[in-house]
Subunit: 282 residues, 4 copies
Amino acid sequence: MKTKDFAKLALKYKAIFFDAYGVLKNYKGLIPGIERTFNFLIENNIDYYILTNDASRSPEQLADRYVSRGINAITPDRIISSGMLAREYLQYKVKHGTVAYLGTEDSAHYIETAGLKTISIDKLDLNDLDHISALVFLDDEGFDWKHDVNKVINLLRIKNLSVIVANTDISYPVNKIEIAIAIGGISDMIEEIVGKKFIRFGKPDAQMFMFAYDQILAKGPIRKDEILMVGDTLYSDIMGGNKFGMDTALVLTGNTLPHEAELKIVSSGIIPTYICDSVVIS
Amino acid sequence: MKTKDFAKLALKYKAIFFDAYGVLKNYKGLIPGIERTFNFLIENNIDYYILTNDASRSPEQLADRYVSRGINAITPDRIISSGMLAREYLQYKVKHGTVAYLGTEDSAHYIETAGLKTISIDKLDLNDLDHISALVFLDDEGFDWKHDVNKVINLLRIKNLSVIVANTDISYPVNKIEIAIAIGGISDMIEEIVGKKFIRFGKPDAQMFMFAYDQILAKGPIRKDEILMVGDTLYSDIMGGNKFGMDTALVLTGNTLPHEAELKIVSSGIIPTYICDSVVIS
Amino acid sequence: MKTKDFAKLALKYKAIFFDAYGVLKNYKGLIPGIERTFNFLIENNIDYYILTNDASRSPEQLADRYVSRGINAITPDRIISSGMLAREYLQYKVKHGTVAYLGTEDSAHYIETAGLKTISIDKLDLNDLDHISALVFLDDEGFDWKHDVNKVINLLRIKNLSVIVANTDISYPVNKIEIAIAIGGISDMIEEIVGKKFIRFGKPDAQMFMFAYDQILAKGPIRKDEILMVGDTLYSDIMGGNKFGMDTALVLTGNTLPHEAELKIVSSGIIPTYICDSVVIS
Amino acid sequence: MKTKDFAKLALKYKAIFFDAYGVLKNYKGLIPGIERTFNFLIENNIDYYILTNDASRSPEQLADRYVSRGINAITPDRIISSGMLAREYLQYKVKHGTVAYLGTEDSAHYIETAGLKTISIDKLDLNDLDHISALVFLDDEGFDWKHDVNKVINLLRIKNLSVIVANTDISYPVNKIEIAIAIGGISDMIEEIVGKKFIRFGKPDAQMFMFAYDQILAKGPIRKDEILMVGDTLYSDIMGGNKFGMDTALVLTGNTLPHEAELKIVSSGIIPTYICDSVVIS
């Protein structure tokens, strides 16, 4: 399996979309040397966005984590999160009432900045649901799993609500070996038990790529095949990017290990345009 | 939809298998008059067994709950639980080592009466797994969902273990309106996330009916179509009974309400031989 | 269940997206009086598009069927089909080589108008696959199911190809009672057997709505909530429209019958903004 | 990965259950030397049965194929097929009427030897269904896929019938590289489209193992862990055997290739008690 040099590849595109975890950072923090990648893009006038399945915090908070570690190039306007799509959905579709949520107060606060009222499942009174207009799954933190997951199931049996899952991932890495269940995994279980259809935001869904594409189009004309999507996960990053019509590059610094990349590509049928060892420029 | 009188129907069979919840009892306790049903069966020399998806306690403890409420006819030898199948599996297949479990101490104690050592997931050391020989899901109670479910996922990433789910149900009723997630629902989520195949015990699987049939065969010859399976749930009780070759009767005192029975039968394609209002004999 | 008058509703929106089958036409042909609906929209300066899961023919051919029956308002530029998305994908992603297909010659011809070479599965030589660059499922007609479906499975075992499904529907109505398996249903079976991931185009996927939205945006600014999506199917039309951020109207002239609408909405959790008896204006 | 010598292993058991395809034979015919295995078993007084997911012909016809190639040890009474379970089910559950089927006349003939009337889907009149009492999927041969699969779907929309799938396999090998869709794969597609629950017979389901175990028990007492299940497929043979409480041996002459055995065991979590290169005795 021959890998491509990322710098040479990048020069062929007008813009690059990056997945965050496994590409720019991992469980130890930023991938060393990643600042050189963004310097290179800026020098060469290549536009860039970060596309991340994350609804646990606002773009401002997500950007802060990069800036505080010395990557000033990643400003809030460069970040497209699945939480932003969920927030936009709620703005368009929930005209009044209160949105019930599973997640942290922080994740709910971001929804509130769109002018929506929120209430945690914990504080919800199942006998007083008239004002509840939607349910949103934001984060796997911030609630008692047993109590609140069972409460959500009964909420959905009592009242027919639109349900939004603000992160499609079913798990996320916590260190080199261990993973944790993400809110997408919990919502899959609940959907199966209540037998209803939930609305999901996040890669590989096209809406995520469209959101980023619309930002970049606003600056001037650009074709989809002038953008490269870079990610470490075949299903969410590469399949999503391919389907949207972009070229795609799989990097081997995260979820897909070098020795298993070829096997995973063959067994999944998800074929990246290129494979790169890393996005770090030497 | 015409329903059959249960007493008349029962007289046509040599033996009757009953589901427990929704047939003999509900969230309020025993269904009133249920003692007359068992008196009738005994008077008419009709054999009977209770088949229940439950691994939370031993047959003795399950029987106690009937006897303490005045149904002396339901003795431990009349009860076939999915926990018994899981216990038998572990006896046959786990020759040495310790069985890790999710559930209450009570549920684990029943496994231990088969001569097996057990350890709760909570007490397990992920750095010392040499002696762990299997993992069993017993009950939705007795553990911290967030901490222990995530720990189970990482256990299965570190060590390749046979996994046994001792109850196929994904939820159970807690009162007239509300339900709770059963251990079967939690294990489905974990199976999806780790991408492995778990071994499941409980209706509608044939092994449950076979276990009961073997008990009854030991007393003398009986054909499968001389037994009636009675249950309130189309998928587990009726489909399971049909597939095993028995006649089946759907009762309307539990999971399948009178006004929705016909629609559910048509939309599922699961067709009971008979429908009865209740097993209570007037 | 109270239904809304479609004419009054339409006046609240700048544009309307229509599903075709079950809304504008059914197994008997055009729904009588449908021409008045389009006259009304034109008179009131309300823009409109037809969004249809169909890859069996070109927009020109699809429009012809309306025009030949007297609906001159439905011109090719008003039609957004899942086949158009598949064609666009292939243009962006397949730079050279030949696209293998399951479907009619007609359906393949539309792909060829994008400058792509195609070959039917029937004519493919499994020993000479070097020039094959993608596989696309276009139509359930035009091939021998047994021979060609088995050949497709072996093609995907021999060569790792991107697979595109140009219509997500699993079935379609052929008369008042009967349905037929659509190419989406066949591709689901093949995907399960080969264990790979296919790329699907069609409602409820966001890309379909985005394609239409981009057309309308090109004429001037319009917000998503100034558009009404009208359809007869909860999953593809209403859930898709909701997720994209539009208001939605379920009509009762097709897949969702008047007496079952409320039950289907409650059991699926897919909630239309409005329900209308029909889009025909009296 | 260390493999065990099959002869030494066999001596530890009172009986051995064999899968057929990939263990005793492959696309080229019988595995060379397989006659020595059966001579060895007979000499050492080890009982044996063949458990095969096949409903295309009777046990007599299945045995003939071995006997005609010189393996006289495999007589009809040694063969347990999923078709036998389906036939037994129909005998118990279909008291009158006609069974509609998809498959060859040969496969239907075997059902008829149980005293049942059958009619092929092709010959069925959808306007005259009163006498039709069940539907059974027997074989992927013997019918026009497009016409008859669509007819089956409409049959199930018009009349609520018990549906039996007499072979759970979704595909089968036709030569070293190619596979073909089995009737189990076709029935999965139909089940998805009609949204009903079908009754399935075949490994890994317990009923298949129970049927063989009952035969062997009739000759004298034997515990489940005194039987070895041998197969080439982790899901159907090994998981099924494990769940039933037997020891299991994976052989590397069929579906699981030597270089992928360990990876498949780890990724599936299905753990055979032993691995053998082959059942052929040198």
